[in-house]
Symmetry: C2
Subunit: 299 residues, 2 copies
Amino acid sequence: MSNPLPSLLSDRLHLWRTWVDDRLADYCRFGSGCPKGLSDAIRYSLLAPGKRLRPLLVLSAAEACGCDPEGGLPAACAVEMIHAYSLIHDDLPAMDDDDLRRGRATCHIQFGEGVAILAGDALLAMAFEVLATDLPTEIAGECCRLLARAAGPTRLVGGQADDLVADKEGTAVDLDRLESIHHRKTGALLATSLQLGATLAQAGDEPMSRLETYGLRIGLAFQIVDDLLDWSGDEQALGKRTGRDRELGKSTYPGVLGVDRSRQRAQELVQQACDGLIGFPGPTDALTSIARYIVARDR
Amino acid sequence: MSNPLPSLLSDRLHLWRTWVDDRLADYCRFGSGCPKGLSDAIRYSLLAPGKRLRPLLVLSAAEACGCDPEGGLPAACAVEMIHAYSLIHDDLPAMDDDDLRRGRATCHIQFGEGVAILAGDALLAMAFEVLATDLPTEIAGECCRLLARAAGPTRLVGGQADDLVADKEGTAVDLDRLESIHHRKTGALLATSLQLGATLAQAGDEPMSRLETYGLRIGLAFQIVDDLLDWSGDEQALGKRTGRDRELGKSTYPGVLGVDRSRQRAQELVQQACDGLIGFPGPTDALTSIARYIVARDR
């Protein structure tokens, strides 16, 4: 499989991504007690080639708030664990019933449904163990609180439940409901990645609020680009089936605004996100690079 | 449905159980963002009549270590959330495929498989949100660490994965492997309940180690009694199908030791657990009452 981020991110972000991948692999070295089938499934999903967008947001936000990004690695990995868990469970037959993810068989196709459910459960618990074990005591609890809220019934899981109902109903979802689902399913975890970075740096209210605005903008841009890729993307490059939203009759940005206006809207949002990156104690070039990558990506 | 703890526990434990039930209900009041189908499924499973054994262990351990038991309610509820999540996922068709739990339809029978998976996921995240939000900062991280480890791939989820493989293989499991599965699936969370109580009280090494021994003993007794109830228990009183272990060819205590010696072994373990309850700064009568309840229960 080709590298999912060919040349769109800065060299430094590429380096950070290798840090994240190495640390994720470290966290998958289980002692006795973890059956081989389960650890294989966890590794298969967590260490699969991926953008590592959320971990990079944690490290970039930490740096912008004046903190050494390397100290953000446990939180970066915890967020990726939550992301990986949510993909495994979303792909299950009782949910989106997907058999292909990042160009490979989904976890339940590869390991069976029972093991896939358990691998997702394990990753969810591991995220909190990593935060609580590897972060300083004074911020560990707050980071657990932020991540648990993002993963919980009013955000990630709530969005997925609404999405599930919408799919089962088979009725068209209007753009407002689509945005509400997206905001909880994807936006909340992107925003929390930034908040975790800021919390590690014990940032004040102003950087936190600027990061929140940046997060809302790139989150929406991310969703528009996802819709565009599903609408017209290359199935092989994406490594997953495309056109599913249209098949399911879901409202999407290109469906409602058209392809050109959707693309334009995503570019405006990213420009606004970058323009708002002022008044931080540390460098913000990593945040800029990630925002630009979000509209330029082709998978 | 009748009260699951008729008269076997002390009045104080009954009172504590109403505290736990009230607090659990409070934690199920979601704001907007949690779809009704999901919150119904969470409440259905979490608030179902139950023994609340793990929450009572948290409060009893806190009291034995010299802490006001009421302060242990967030941790008590968090442990019950992990327990409820594990029951929902264990009952799924891809796992144990059970349709009856505590005398009622299991979560996926009542709400569908997708919603049941999500309700379990939500409860897992909620447990950490409760710990991280409602405990004092200086212990929140440590409590999250203990609970995450107990719920993770080497304990709760690891035990369930081994159990799943054993079921699918359809081969008899020897008593050593059965104990290893049990120790991770049930024993770890019972032991963690006690550790959480001790952590809340910021107990020293000696009470912690005495509680660990108590936990191992009542955990094993609990499993033996579970096996005995499955072997000869009343399906209606238990509210679930019995005889499944035998059908599946699983090794069990009555199968290996016989019914009488199994019962005797459980009683010895409980006596030893009670005899070891010395040298605590606070009262230990709640821990004694719970231990005695474990062998006397009929469901």
